[in-house]
Symmetry: D3
């Protein structure tokens, strides 16, 4: 599968915390850690666990720019 | 200003392309380039240009996880 | 690639309109047409054109519910 | 009320799961099931329950396109 | 129609700018002006024009919090 | 920090409810209350509590327009 989302940041999962319905997954992309809030269901479906190789995928329209 | 968004990926702007109303700004965060689709107005307001230090800011609920 | 986004609606592309930076792609998913606003770049990268089989992918946190 | 969101997929609610703050609601739109992550509060406010007619509403800028 | 989105800020449209595919609509909600980036198509479909009463509708998961 | 997000609605926090992973924060912006769904982590990190001055920050592409 190839997706239109412009951002695909590859790394390794360093944290998976499931809540009641929403899970937080953290990926170390090398120099930075990206946090994703996804469904518990997706964590189970993709069998996500610490140490796995994975990518953070983000649609360009969801990215903001900040300057100091 | 401190913001609730969990992801703040610092880097350098490598591309700014303005469209009719929507601009695309690319930031090299070291090892990866992140694309943001923002308003032309924001580009002007923040005076974004190639070479500037900037950060890609992303809310955790807008991040997906992909595996091979 | 397998993605955490919970919604994957398969269909056929019925319209591709490129703007200055943002394109609108319509997919007939059988009984309904879904409109996506993506980058022109993604249209080129995925070589999207009318008649192609494709899927509309949507993160669960981007879906609202409406009732009459 | 008429809304600017381009996607309105009508169907029937097949699942409502409330978490601590976030609920997951599934709508069978005929041939596909769409999952929405909304607030528990919205579930209560709209009195959503299995069997109800409802629509999944999605802004075009939140839809991605995937191809095989 | 009643929608799950928690935020409905009523006001008056003060600006409508159409781009190639994406329009920017501004609503004065009394004390603040809210900017929406929507499709040109939605502007036409809802016949949005300066002076109209309208509401800015925002899903709670798309709102961030900032402090000084 | 200056951010590209076009909407910054200042007010006072009137409610903070933490769930298992997702918190709901409400800000009275004067005449309207805005609800944000953010991570518990962000609530802790920004030390958000009732009575604090804060702003709701929203990207223009996440704002929809509704008319009666």
């Amino acid at each position: 599968m190839k997706i239109s989302a412009r951002n695909n940041l590859r790394g390794r999962i360093v944290d998976v915390v499931k809540g009641a319905t929403t899970a937080h997954v953290r990926i170390d992309i090398g120099g930075a850690v990206v946090t994703a809030a996804i469904t518990n269901e997706a964590v189970d479906d993709l069998k996500l666990k610490v140490g796995d190789t994975a990518a953070a995928v983000i649609k360009a329209s969801d990215v903001m720019i900040a300057v100091d």
